[in-house]
């Protein structure tokens, strides 16, 4: 187990985002979080790896199993709650962030996780996603991005590349895709990260950081859909697998210079655009030293644009993690203030407030 940026160590110190969630009496195991339901994704689907990584990570939270809730929308990824033995809701298309908002805002003692996909979270539910993020509701949103509609059998999605040929776009798609991390940063999410289905260690480290954050956390997870969009991220992953760090994946590390591949690094130019440079040419001092806590999201946004054009370099890891009061905390504080000022509501007095008169 590794320490998070805040210093919380899995299991020992409660993660910051779970301060109000009751601690488990004794350590739980991965099997405690598995249901008896048969997992029904296609063979080879990236969702299997994410599920396994998540289930083996959950015990680390150190919270009571019954205080964990999984909320999902509709799509392949949204089957997730059925396989995690906690409370769960497999809701309707796109609405999971809204539903989870009501749950988290009224129950600060719960650890609420939203599982969504690129279609569910960015298309039909895009509005709920950005509003949950700006409000900083204490929910952790995992967006599985396979850049395709899987459950409806292969239409292009809001993250599919321009010109994508699918069943609904035989001559190629016409719409420019979203970069989910850029979008989340544009909504001023207080925690934004990206990981990859196939790298369990990295994914778990990002989950750990997310749990250790009070408020909304947004995690984009690149997920392979072998059936309808196989190997969408293969070039990235392969280059990385050959010689770790040699391909286009830029592994962001808080406090470390942003370096990757054979001697490449990232600096900001005079317009605030992040650009890839040869470290030998510009010198180590020119490189950005990654800081997740920069208050203004512009810096993290600049990093998120490094995938242009054509996924040449893709940063993964935590882009941004800034402290901000969470929505449920603020709401609870107002309730407490009102109760302190007015006392616990007196129903009879409320009904009789205003001008009254008595008959007989």
């Amino acid at each position: 187990m590794t320490e998070t940026v805040n210093g919380a160590v899995g299991g020992a110190v409660p993660p910051a985002g779970l301060r109000l969630v009751p601690r488990a009496d004794e350590p739980l195991k991965m099997k405690d979080f598995k249901t008896d339901q048969e997992v029904r994704w296609c063979p080879g689907c990236g969702d299997y790896a994410i599920l396994a990584a998540f289930q083996s990570f959950l015990p680390e939270l150190g919270v009571k199993r019954e205080n964990v809730v999984m909320v999902s929308g509709i799509g392949c990824s949204s089957r997730f709650p059925y396989y995690v033995d906690t409370y769960g809701m497999h809701s309707i298309h796109g609405r999971a962030p809204a539903i989870a908002t009501g749950l988290a805002a009224s129950r600060p003692d719960l650890s609420v996780w939203v599982v969504t996909g690129d279609g569910d979270g960015l298309s039909i539910g895009g509005n709920h996603l950005i509003h949950a993020l700006r409000r900083n509701v204490n929910i952790k949103i995992l967006l599985f991005n396979n850049r395709i509609y899987g459950l409806t059998k292969g239409q292009y999605s809001p993250t599919s590349e321009l010109g994508k040929v699918t069943k609904s776009t035989p001559m190629g798609s016409l719409d420019t895709p979203f970069n989910p991390v850029s979008l989340a940063l544009g909504a001023e999410a207080s925690f934004v990260a990206r990981s990859v289905d196939s790298d369990r260690k990295h994914l778990q480290s990002v989950l750990r950081e997310a749990a250790d954050h009070q408020g909304s956390a947004f995690i984009e997870i690149y997920q392979n859909c072998p059936i309808f969009n196989d190997d969408a991220f293969a070039p990235l992953k392969e280059a990385d697998r050959g010689t770790p760090g040699s391909g286009g994946l830029i592994r962001l590390q808080h406090g470390e210079p942003v370096r990757f591949g054979g001697g490449k690094g990232v600096r900001l130019n005079r317009y605030g655009t992040a650009e890839v440079v040869d470290v030998d040419e510009v010198g180590e001092d020119e490189l950005l030293v990654h800081d997740v806590a920069v208050p203004d999201p512009s810096y993290a946004f600049a990093l998120s644009r490094l995938d242009q054009p054509a996924f040449a370099h893709v940063p993964v890891g935590v882009f941004r993690k800034v402290p901000r009061p969470s929505y449920d905390e603020l709401m609870a504080a107002q309730l407490e203030r009102a109760a302190a000022a007015e006392g616990p509501g007196d129903l009879g007095a409320l009904l009789a407030s205003g001008d009254t008169w008595t008959v007989g």
Binding site: P81, R95, T101, A104, A105, S106, R107, L351, D355
Partner: protein, 624 residues
């Protein structure tokens, strides 16, 4: 000078002016004075949809009608006995409703050439004899107010603004209203602006004094207090009563209230009101859209809150899918639709009851939901509690259909004894209910068919719910044909079963031998009741019944319908309840339908009922 005081049994006053003239406030204050005097009353505000329509124009006219009496009354009245018109637009927009012989008090200062032209009066109606059949009182309200405030430390604009208080003072004198309430109100409202407070108070008193001294008003009137049931009363609008009912429902059920809502006319006042009562543990969430409003409420319900969402017709259309999810997950949820004229945006500030079939059937699949409708402003309190009872007892979404008329209208409300309100305490599931310590989230209560409500945080009851068809008992995903058939029927049977513990349909049939029944639902109760009284006064024998439960219907409704030879169903839609009654009970009811964005008038309904009694009307009438 002591003037003559004349006794009246009832009066209808309409205050009308430009949106900026403060007519709603004036009407509201007069109402409070009248309420505290002990008259029975009923009010009808009518305001433009535009927040600031151009000043002095017809679309900018705002009005407030008040009916008060020394006996119990049921509606804000058909036609005003007194019209207060603050400008030519207000006169023009309201004159057609004013019967000949009525009093019209006009603010002559506003009858300038420019203002007259604005509303298309070629000549001044105060001078061309066109108002000869009315008793016109031409009063320079603005200039008299400004004059009265000469000594005060306020701008001319602020002085002119106080003209509504002058008018209120005059009317308060005319009808011998108690003034303490208004004076106290002004003190509180302008506590931080002493100069404005003093000016408004002085304008109010100047209006009163003017009435007392002017020769234009030879008599003042007195309307004795009504003999209401003993108790403590307050005046209340439907939206306020609804808000209080929800807070009470939360208290009685022991569940914290969570309101997820999005601003929409005419429902926003419920959001405003509930957001003021955080001391009661009320969480209000102004969502990014209607869907998120109901979604958050449902999410909160999953967590053990009393989840409520408030909206109007267009919002209901957007919430349909989430309500369907609530039907499938079988969680309590209260969805309140303050109906307005539709379809689409329709007329947001005008009333209608055309969302009944939407409430019953406006979702995909077989998606039964109990539907309730309050019958008057004060009844909104009881209906809210009833909605909470049904939602929590049966673990189901419940739809409440209020409407713009009762939401904004008001009437005296006899305060309930809080200790006598029903106990709605809810028991969450705490123990496994299946073999080997398993928890079966869809194992039902044999009587109510409700499923257990197990909230997160309860050990051992971890379970998953969702919109995919559930397997009976376990709640696991199921695509089995026989299971789906069973679950569809079970959800229907559960909602049908609500009929067991709702009040039977009561029929008011004083002579006991009426052959004609008039049956309404929701906000038309007052108008129908007033129409029925007229018919009875004229010797007609007619029975009246009113539905507050639209789904399921009260268990005895079929038997009631069968008892009468003819059944008249007035609705502010094109016959939605009529259609249900014909389909379910094979009774060929006679519909009376009108969709003008306005409540029915007692007189027109009396005419319709009389025609049915006389056999002159045997078929639906869709009035234009």
């Amino acid at each position: 000078m002591t003037k003559q005081v004349q006794q009246l049994d009832r009066v209808i006053i309409r205050f009308a002016g430009d949106s900026g003239d403060g007519m709603q406030l004036t009407g509201d204050r007069f109402t409070q004075e009248t309420a505290s005097f002990g008259n029975d009353l009923s009010t009808l505000p009518n305001f433009p949809a535009e927040i600031r329509a151009p000043a002095g124009t017809l679309p900018g006219v705002s009005s407030f009608q008040l009916h008060f009496a020394d006996h119990d009354i049921m509606t804000p009245g058909d036609a005003p006995n007194v019209l207060v018109a603050m400008n030519p637009a207000a006169l023009k927009a309201n004159l057609e409703d004013v019967p000949r012989g009525a009093d019209i008090i006009v603010n002559t200062d506003e009858f300038t050439k420019r203002n007259l032209t604005k509303v298309g009066y070629p000549v001044n109606p105060l001078e061309d004899g066109s108002l000869a059949e009315y008793r016109v009182h031409a009063v320079p309200l603005t200039s008299m107010t400004v004059k009265a405030l000469e000594e005060f430390d306020v701008s001319k604009k602020d002085a002119e603004r106080a003209k509504n208080m002058f008018a209120l003072g005059l009317l308060s004198w005319l009808y011998n209203r108690p003034t303490e309430g208004t004076l106290a109100f002004l003190r509180a409202k302008f506590a931080s602006k002493p100069a404005i407070m003093a000016a408004n108070t002085a304008a109010f008193q100047a209006g009163w004094n003017f009435g007392e001294t002017t020769e234009d008003f030879a008599v003042s009137y007195e309307i004795k207090p009504a003999t209401l049931r003993p108790g403590t009363y307050r005046n209340i609008t439907g939206n306020l009563a609804l808000s209080y009912g929800l807070i009470a429902g939360s208290r009685l059920s022991g569940l914290p209230l969570f309101l997820g809502s999005y601003p929409i006319t005419p429902a926003s006042d419920v959001l405003h009101e509930l957001s003021r009562h955080k001391g009661f543990g009320v969480r209000t969430f102004q969502a990014e859209d209607e869907i998120a409003g109901v979604g958050a409420a449902l999410g909160a319900a999953f967590g053990g809150s009393l989840g409520v969402t408030t909206t109007s017709g267009p919002g209901m259309a957007l919430k349909a899918e989430t309500i369907g999810l609530g039907v499938m997950m079988e969680l309590p949820l209260v969805a309140i639709n303050i109906q307005r004229a539709g379809p689409s945006t329709g007329m947001p500030t005008k009333t209608e009851q055309a969302d009944l079939l939407q409430a019953l059937y406006g979702r995909n699949g077989e998606s039964p939901v109990p539907v309730l409708a309050p019958q008057s402003p004060a009844d909104c309190f009881d209906i809210a509690i009833e909605a909470v009872r049904i939602a929590t007892t049966y673990r189901t979404p419940v739809i409440v259909l209020s409407d713009g008329y009762i939401a904004n209208g008001s009437e005296p409300w006899r305060l309930p004894d809080v200790a006598a309100l029903p106990d709605l305490r809810v028991e969450f599931a705490t123990e496994p209910n299946g073999p080997d310590g398993a928890f079966l989230p869809y194992l039902r209560d044999p009587e109510t068919l409700a499923r257990p409500w197990a909230v997160p945080g309860t050990p051992g009851l971890e379970h998953r719910v969702g919109g995919i068809e559930k397997s009976d008992g376990t709640g696991n995903i199921s695509y089995s044909p026989s299971n789906h058939d069973l679950m569809v029927r079970t959800r229907q049977a559960k909602v049908d079963g609500v009929a067991r513990d709702i009040e039977p349909l009561r029929v008011d049939d004083p002579t006991g031998d009426a052959e004609v029944l008039v049956l309404g639902w929701g906000g038309t109760y007052g108008s129908i009741g007033a129409g029925v009284r007229r018919v009875r006064r004229a010797g007609g024998r007619i029975a009246q019944a009113h539905l507050r439960h639209l789904n399921p219907f009260p268990a005895n409704i079929g038997e009631v319908l069968a008892r009468y030879e003819r059944v008249v169903v007035p609705e502010i839609n094109l016959g939605q309840l009529s259609q249900l009654l014909r389909a379910r009970f094979l009774v060929d009811v006679i519909g009376y339908n009108k969709v003008r964005g306005l409540p029915f008038k007692a007189e027109e309904l009396a005419g319709v009922l009389q025609d049915v009694l006389n056999g002159r009307r045997t078929e639906d009438v869709i009035e234009k």
